[in-house]
């Protein structure tokens, strides 16, 4: 079952020319292509974040000018949201692992898969160009009329970039949905699917239904800015708040594009390292779908003080609470999964523990924001900033790293240092809390977000936050170091180093170009650890 020598032919070494990579239709290689671009975007976003945090160590705006600061956080948000978190888990880990997990030879449309990478890169290049030629300063939310009339930064170029990258996301979603429907191996019924696949399915639903709306919205914004259309122009009687409705119709569900796949990763890793079936499999599976669908009903909770009708606000608040329930179900099921498990503390699992703690805080503070009476005070303060970083960095990025650490041996055929992996997870956890917990306090004190300079009494907390950010930076750099090192000096991993179930562990590491020598036939559910002696290679 396991090979201890690196296999001869793998998807990595069948062909090694640059062209063979750039023209590949292999989902595994495309996953790696995404990994490269996304890591670069993450580095870039991190550098912008560093700029933000340095500026905020002092109350005066003395490190960079106000205009530069505004560009920094905008580009940070744009890079992190559209070019890191939305593609991170689905396009990197999903692309790599999902076809393996369902026993398919590839995704349904390999050419479209490659195309979506190119589309993504082109979108990214536009955005990069916008950044190089002076940046954007609208905030990642592009609110009109500022973005359409007042801003004199590269809104158009960035908008085009986001528009194009959106199509990449749509194509990936489409591809995954069809793949999951049509490419499952014989015997792989819906309720034998690994939960990561369920999560990706739910994600692709959101990508398909939501992303086109942001595309058209950005297009309208572009027409307004470039040609003087008047759809959101208050001087013509247009409603700037309509832009916000359309923007959040996508962007709220988009936060679930960011969190659902990491949630799926968590289910995989948790099951593997507790040596147990996930508690309440079908509830966890359906809660993904529920989140995807209900996620479309709550968008105006970003608009509570933006001038919408209070009655409508009430409806959206109610629905926001409702959408928290499926997340609650997931959380409790994860906790219950640990009960009477055989918990093996390996690096991926440590990331999972971190995820649970931080996602919890992030999700629960979402309830503060969903509460109408509190959101009036908290809206557009650092409380919101802390909320979404807890979910997006503490939750989603941690989940992404859990997955990367989990599948790394499969992707590369090499092991990294477990000790360093654990250390990095703990560094990031501590650094993270130090960075973002003070921001909850700042937020309740009333410090508005997107502020280049702030009243003096907020300084101490901001300094703490900046200190934490440096720790965070060290943690991430550490990951990059030992993972890169493992490529070169890492031990050979073998087909199944974690003793995991799941088809992806059935094939060699790194897998064959065509995934499986023979199409697998599936006879049981995804996490049947109990039925067998786990053997760790």
């Amino acid at each position: 079952m396991t090979t201890t020598v690196l296999p001869r032919v793998t998807y990595l070494n069948v062909r090694t020319t640059v062209a063979s990579w750039l023209l590949t239709k292999d989902h595994k290689r495309i996953g790696i292509l995404y990994l490269l671009v996304v890591s670069f975007a993450f580095l870039l976003g991190g550098i912008f974040a560093a700029g933000v945090r340095i500026e905020l160590t002092t109350p005066e705006g003395d490190f960079v000018s106000a205009d530069t600061y505004n560009r920094l956080f905008t580009m940070h948000g744009v890079a992190m949201v559209f070019f890191v978190l939305i593609p991170a888990v689905p396009a990197i880990l999903g692309n790599f692992a999902m076809p393996l997990m369902i026993g398919a030879r590839d995704v349904a449309f390999p050419k479209i898969n490659l195309l979506s990478w190119y589309v993504f890169v082109i979108g990214f290049l536009f955005t990069l160009a916008a950044m190089l030629f002076g940046g954007v300063d609208t905030g990642w939310t592009f609110y009109t009329p500022y973005s359409s009339q007042a801003s004199n930064s590269n809104v158009l170029l960035t908008g085009i970039g986001v528009f194009i990258a959106g199509f990449s996301s749509i194509l990936t979603g489409l591809n995954f949905m069809v793949t999951i429907h049509r490419m499952r191996a014989p015997g792989m019924t819906w309720f034998r699917l690994p939960l990561f696949v369920w999560a990706l399915y739910a994600t692709s639903l959101v990508q398909i239904l939501g992303t086109p709306v942001i595309a058209i919205t950005v297009l309208m914004l572009a027409l307004e800015r470039a040609l003087g259309f008047g759809i959101f122009d208050p001087r013509l009687g247009g409603d700037p708040v309509l832009f916000q409705h359309l923007f959040w119709f996508y962007s709220h569900p988009a936060v679930y594009i960011m969190i659902l796949p990491p949630m799926g990763v968590i289910s995989e890793v948790l099951a593997c390292f507790s040596r147990k079936s996930i508690f309440g499999y079908s509830f966890v599976a359906f809660s993904s779908l529920a989140i995807a669908v209900f996620g479309f009903l709550v968008w105006a909770h970003h608009l509570f003080v933006a001038g919408i009708s209070p009655y409508s606000a009430m409806v959206f608040s109610f629905l926001s609470f409702a959408v928290a329930i499926p997340s609650a179900v997931k959380t409790f099921n994860w906790a219950a999964t640990l009960y009477r498990g055989a918990i093996w503390w390996r690096a991926p699992m440590i990331w999972v523990f971190g995820f649970i703690g931080l996602f919890l805080v992030g999700g629960l503070t979402g309830l503060f924001l969903a509460s109408l009476g509190l959101d009036v005070h908290l809206h557009d303060t650092y409380f919101v900033v802390a909320h979404f970083h807890y979910i997006m960095v503490g939750g989603a990025i941690m989940g992404y790293f859990a997955g990367l650490h989990y599948w790394w041996p499969k992707i590369t055929g090499r092991m990294y240092s477990n000790g360093l992996g654990t250390l990095a997870a703990m560094l990031v956890f501590v650094g993270f809390n130090l960075t973002f917990f003070p921001q909850f306090i700042l937020g309740y004190l009333g410090m508005p977000r997107r502020y280049h300079a702030y009243p003096e009494e907020f300084q101490v907390l901001n300094v703490l936050s900046s200190a934490g950010a440096s720790l965070l930076g060290i943690g991430y750099t550490l990951i990059a170091c030992y993972l890169l090192y493992s490529l070169w000096k890492g031990e050979e991993a073998g087909a199944n180093p974690w003793g995991a179930t799941g088809l992806e562990w059935k094939t060699q590491s790194p897998p064959l170009p065509e995934n499986f020598a023979q199409t697998p036939i599936v006879r049981e559910g995804a996490y049947e650890y109990a039925k067998r002696e786990t053997k760790v290679a």
């Binding site: 009339q149 007042a150 004199n152 429907h181 009687g237 247009g238 479309f296 105006a300 009655y311 409508s312």
Partner: protein, 129 residues
């Protein structure tokens, strides 16, 4: 490959029906139906679209999944329209005692035209495009 093959008759019949409906919708547009003009026009358009979907696009003979997907598109479109309008149409309801709207509410709803004025005589707000 076994796709459903409809008789030619069906296609021409559907085409005929579409033409008739087009004529009806034009006639209806020139008839004063009070508040009903818009719903009627929309109703006819939906009927026409349904015919195209069912027969030209063969959904009538397609799998449940295909039907489900068509339904999904329609459903989420309604969510977009419905929930957004839930804001716009209820903005007028909220009126504080004393007759003034609070918290940024627009005042009226319904058939009344809703101009949003724009002050021109304001100092220095030329957009810097």
């Amino acid at each position: 490959m076994a796709g459903h093959i409809s008789p030619l008759r069906t296609y021409f019949a559907i085409f005929g029906a579409l033409m008739v409906l087009t004529t009806i919708t034009v006639i209806a547009a020139f008839t004063n139906l009070q508040a009903w003009n818009f719903p009627v026009a929309l109703g006819i358009a939906i009927t026409k679209a349904t015919l195209v979907v069912l027969f030209f696009m063969h959904v009538k003979y397609s799998s449940r999944l295909t039907k489900l997907i068509c339904g999904t598109a329609f459903f989420f479109l309604l969510i977009l329209f419905g929930l957004t309008l839930s804001d716009y149409l209820s903005r007028g309801w909220f009126t504080a005692p004393g007759g003034t709207a609070a918290a940024g509410t627009r005042v009226t709803i319904g058939p009344a035209p809703q101009p949003a004025p724009a002050a021109e005589g304001r100092p220095a707000t030329a957009p810097e495009r």
